[in-house]
Symmetry: C2
Subunit: 156 residues, 2 copies
């Protein structure tokens, strides 16, 4: 008799297995460190921070360290060709602010975060944790993180 070794046929197609594999990927396993500035920082200093930290999105925190705003390269580029003096323009004038910020949590599925990035046409999501009186910023999830996850899928 033939030995009964190896896998059982599970009735699942390649696509179903693929979808199952994607459901094992979580935000917390792919997120980056957030770069956070305070809301009275000037636009000029924010641009310098963006270059120093080499990120495409900055998060803005209020006095209680809660998420108050998001600044993209696009926001900063728009401000930089305006007429204002960037040294005296605080970021809270130009940032996207709560409740218009789209965010995610560490335990969210990576695929759900990717959908938010596409649907809202943004480059990055703050990863947050609910805390009394606001949202604590615990990470940064970008299209770069999703692209890395995509590359990882093929390498496994």
């Amino acid at each position: 008799a033939r030995p009964r070794v190896g896998y059982f046929y599970t009735g699942k197609s390649g696509t179903q297995l693929l979808t199952e594999n994607l459901k094992k990927l979580f935000v917390k396993d792919y997120q980056s460190i957030p770069v956070v500035i305070s809301e009275n920082v000037s636009v000029y200093d924010a641009i310098c921070t963006m270059f120093l930290e080499d990120v495409g999105t900055l998060f803005v925190a209020d006095g209680a360290s809660h998420l108050a705003g998001v600044l993209s390269r696009k926001d900063l580029l728009r401000a930089s060709i305006g007429k204002q003096d960037l040294n005296h323009l605080p970021v809270n004038i130009i940032m996207t602010r709560m409740p218009n910020i789209t965010f995610c949590e560490r335990d969210d599925l990576l695929i759900e975060a990717a959908k938010k990035l596409i649907e809202r046409q943004i480059d990055a999501l703050p990863v947050v944790k609910e805390s009394p009186g606001g949202l604590e910023i615990v990470g940064r999830l970008t299209k770069t993180n999703i692209t890395k996850a995509f590359v990882t899928l093929a390498d496994e």
Copy 2:
């Protein structure tokens, strides 16, 4: 006797099937339309084009319509906080130029293009076609395209 229906066991794991699925995705199926400017355009006009077209990367063509340079939001933001007059600064002063441009072709695997984006730390690749005397710009492949592909994988 049992009827012989359904699938055969192929000896492949879910991960192998995943990798095989990824090898069916090509640049040409996910690329976007390129936004191309000529190399004597001013940085100011390039920034306006970037906002009007709502893209993160512009490609620069020479007089023969061949790929000459790439301009990212980061390049334009850096220039915009400099001391120069953006109306009189041509993009060919600040663009990344050949042979330092990383590109891909329509028939490349999407996963290979994704690896280039990660390894070179860039947001977009020009999709090009070899033509006499240079590279013709036929598309634009970005981390947004990869993120969309990632979302599509889960929806199928």
